[in-house]
Amino acid sequence: MKSKNIFLIVMLTLFFIEANSQNCSYTFTGVVEDFHDKSTIVGATIYIKSLNKYTTTDVEGKFSINGLCSGKVTVQISHIACETKTLTVEISKNVFKIFNLEHHIEELDEVNVKGNVLKKTKTSQETLLKTKTLENFSDASLGDAIKEVSGVSSINTGNNIVKPVINGLHSSRILTSINGVRLQDQDWGIEHAPNIDINAAGSISVIKGANALEYGGDAIGGVIIINPARTIKKDTLQGKFIISQQTNGRLSSFSTSLNKTYETGWFVNGQTSFRRAGDFEAANYNLTNTGLKTYGFSTNGGFKGFDKGFDIYYSYLSNEIGILRSSHIGNSADLVNAINNGEPLVVNEFSYDINNPKQEVKHQLVKAKLYKRLKGLGVFSLQYDFQHNNRLEFDIRRGNRNSLPATDLTLKNHAVKADMKFDANSNTTYKIGISGGYQNNFPDPRTRVRRLIPDYDKYNAGIYAISEFRFNGFLLSTGLRYDYNHIDSKKRYLKTRWNSLNYNQDFSDIIINEDSDEFLTNPKFNYHNLSASAGLLIDLNSENSILLNYGLSSRAPNPSELFSDGLHHSASRIELGNLRIQPEKSHRLSSTYTYVNDKVNFSIEGFYNFINDFIYMEPTATENTIRGSFVVWSHIQTDANLFGVDTTIKYQFSDNFSISNKSSLLKGIDVTRNRPLIDIPPFKTVSTLQFIKPEWNNFQTTLQSKFNARQNEFPNNNFTTFVAISGQDELVDISTPPNAFHLLNFTSGVDLNLFKTKIGLQFSVDNIFNTSYRNYLNRLRFYADEIGRNFKIQIKINY
């Protein structure tokens, strides 16, 4: 435990105390309080590094250190289950200070993810985003928020559909857990953003790599864990409002939450949010039909005691998202025309209307969980959840069919899990768990469009064991997991397609019926996946620590990789699944070095990910139809290597000023073909200069510089197509990445206290110079620029 480490350090450093001959008589006194509810914290350690003096707070949270000389001293305040705080105090007379610690009542049930704001893993490359950071993204999406983590980027469809990319991997390779429930929302699609309301999150953990085995074994890219706001065992009623308004897209957003907790352990929380925007603007033109309308609410309640507890959670989220009108095109010739035109072909006046093409997605989640502490053994917990996801996609259609969705998928998912954590011995803990699930996908034929993803039932079962050992400043964790997946689908294949994929040779046994032009097939597949992880944390001393990590993970192909079959309008390509796809397997080695002192906070994370049978799409043919020609992209497998470095540094060069930088560099190579992988985020570096003056109502202002390099390593998938306008074949340049860009952002804010109400005001400007730029990882980069300058005000009220 932290305090134990500090104690050790203190004992060691005692040997090196230097005699101090100065006459020093100042006294430094103070109180340590909980940041959230102002309750005093008992037994916090106050440690003056330079003098090797330390004391602890008494029952009233007070402490006193005397015999100090004038000058600056560095004070480290720590408490079990709190974030350690380091700051500098000027001693020129007797000093009294109040310190606020981010105190998390030590989880009575550590197994219960809910409410535990501490990191989820101890030996992974994990970054925690706290409420305060997330509140800045109250009017944005999950994908926007977690880009705050070095090495995390996003793959976008326009500016509203933002999918997280962790160390170059995304979609099915990232596992998203909300409130302990694995999100099941058709995450295979690049234009399917995670159905998460960021306002429902209290904190978010981003774990790079598949080292959080209790959440799943197939997260080759990483794990995103969303925790609701924690509950305090105290009689309180807390509420929060966040209102924000933006100029770009004339976006308005509103979010509120109310938490009622009781001393006895009972609690009930409610939260709702609403967000609406019209057409956004690029630097030089309107992005027609890019509005959105989203609303959601969640509620949970339960009982949280030391030896037992339960909670029930429900959430609803509805998203209606317009897709840039100009990106809805026909054949490859339209794509050439759009690329060569340089600007969107349809630019209209601003409007709040959301027309086709658009998406309407509704996601519901119900969860029930209970836990019980078994004396001298540990904590047992049991959970059931149900999710219902309905995705409608509307295309521009002929003959009054615009109100009829072109895609209508309903995904239902039941899951149960049980686990037991053996934590009676604090130096060695074990956790074992089992899980099971059933999933059903139903593509509604009312669309009158051939099914892109077929009807299927999917069953899965998993078992895992993880352990944690502490010894001599080392922390070792290991884990092993096995998953079984069974998929049973009913899919209709056009006979021509079936034959051209040579399925007639290998899969003739799965045909169960046929008519004049189609086969009805019943593909059934079983996948067995093994995953493992090992991590070692070495605390060299109070300032330096090293993390070493290995993760083995394997992922069964998703329904899209197996079955997808159809035309993708905004990409002008036919995308085909492949029944022959086998699971992909990743070996990821990583290491982190962290240096922390009162002025400098530095960490460098490196990783090497070897992926065998990496599943990806590649252009394999050109097909001529009555609509012109289309490139066929098929799912194939190769061996891939991804490796990179992410750095984070913060330097506090005075009480008020700090400067920080986050950079990430990544490479992705298709080893089999010896060429770069597609859609690898380019080098990115973000620098922030911050000024904070707590005396001026907690005034703070930041200036941020974001630089994205051009991706110079990309596979060449260019092709030529016949363009009727020019009467000849023209090059379709879909490969060349856009140029590098640099953006400047500004934020400033104050916190006001009115009676018991805390009001935060914030003003910000994004893209100050209205730079026009395009992003390599935006699927609509062929059609339009990214959004231009944006002024934003936000009011936050805590009561």
Partner: protein, 194 residues
């Protein structure tokens, strides 16, 4: 140990839940893609009574499937030099029986559709819109006129755009460069002018 019992209860009930939802499911039926266009028929009629109508057809019966499209006659059309032909386009969905006439659907939404015609540079042919315009007085192009020049060889391409910007520069005159929209049809026929 109460929780163990509870767990067992929950697990069993969820198994029951999942297993019963698996039963009595119907096989997914075939979807009749109503918007499918399988066939474009171009009928050309020369001047005077001496020339009878000639027809050429492009047919791709499996839509976005991988089946090959068929042009009949495969060799294309042979037109007389320095002659004006009236042309008419017929669109069909032949997966239905009887075949559905899609041209009427296009005519009904005339303001959202426009045909464009181009010839390869080697071919001496010019095009002009004919027939009724849409409600805004802009061309639709189901009917048009081909005027041939001197003897030459090449091909013509017929494009149907859905939701083009008909007021953009050159679009009314038959140049699709600024039209935007999406291509519903793009068909090329070999043509010989003698």
């Amino acid at each position: 140990m109460k929780s163990i019992k509870l767990f067992a209860l929950l697990f069993i009930s969820s198994l029951a839940f999942t297993s019963c939802s698996d039963d009595d499911k119907e096989d997914p039926g075939s979807i009749n893609e109503e918007e499918l266009i399988t066939t474009l028929k171009l009928t050309l009629t020369g001047p005077g009574t001496a020339t009878t109508a000639t027809t050429i057809e492009y047919k791709d019966i499996d839509g976005d499937g991988s089946g090959q499209a068929v042009i009949t006659p495969a060799a294309g059309l042979t037109l007389a030099k320095n002659t004006t032909y009236t042309a008419k386009i017929l669109l069909l969905n032949e997966t239905e029986s009887p075949a559905e006439n899609i041209t009427t659907e296009v005519a009904d939404e005339a303001d959202e559709h426009q045909f464009f015609y181009t010839a390869t540079s080697s071919l001496n042919a010019d095009f002009a819109y004919a027939g009724t315009n849409d409600s805004n007085g802009n061309p639709v192009g189901i009917d048009f006129v081909i005027t041939t020049g001197d003897a030459s060889n090449g091909s013509i391409t017929i494009v149907l755009k859905h939701e083009p910007n008909k007021t953009a520069q050159g679009v009314k005159e038959g140049n699709a460069a600024n039209a935007g929209g999406e291509t519903d049809i793009q068909v090329t026929f070999p043509i010989k002018i003698e």
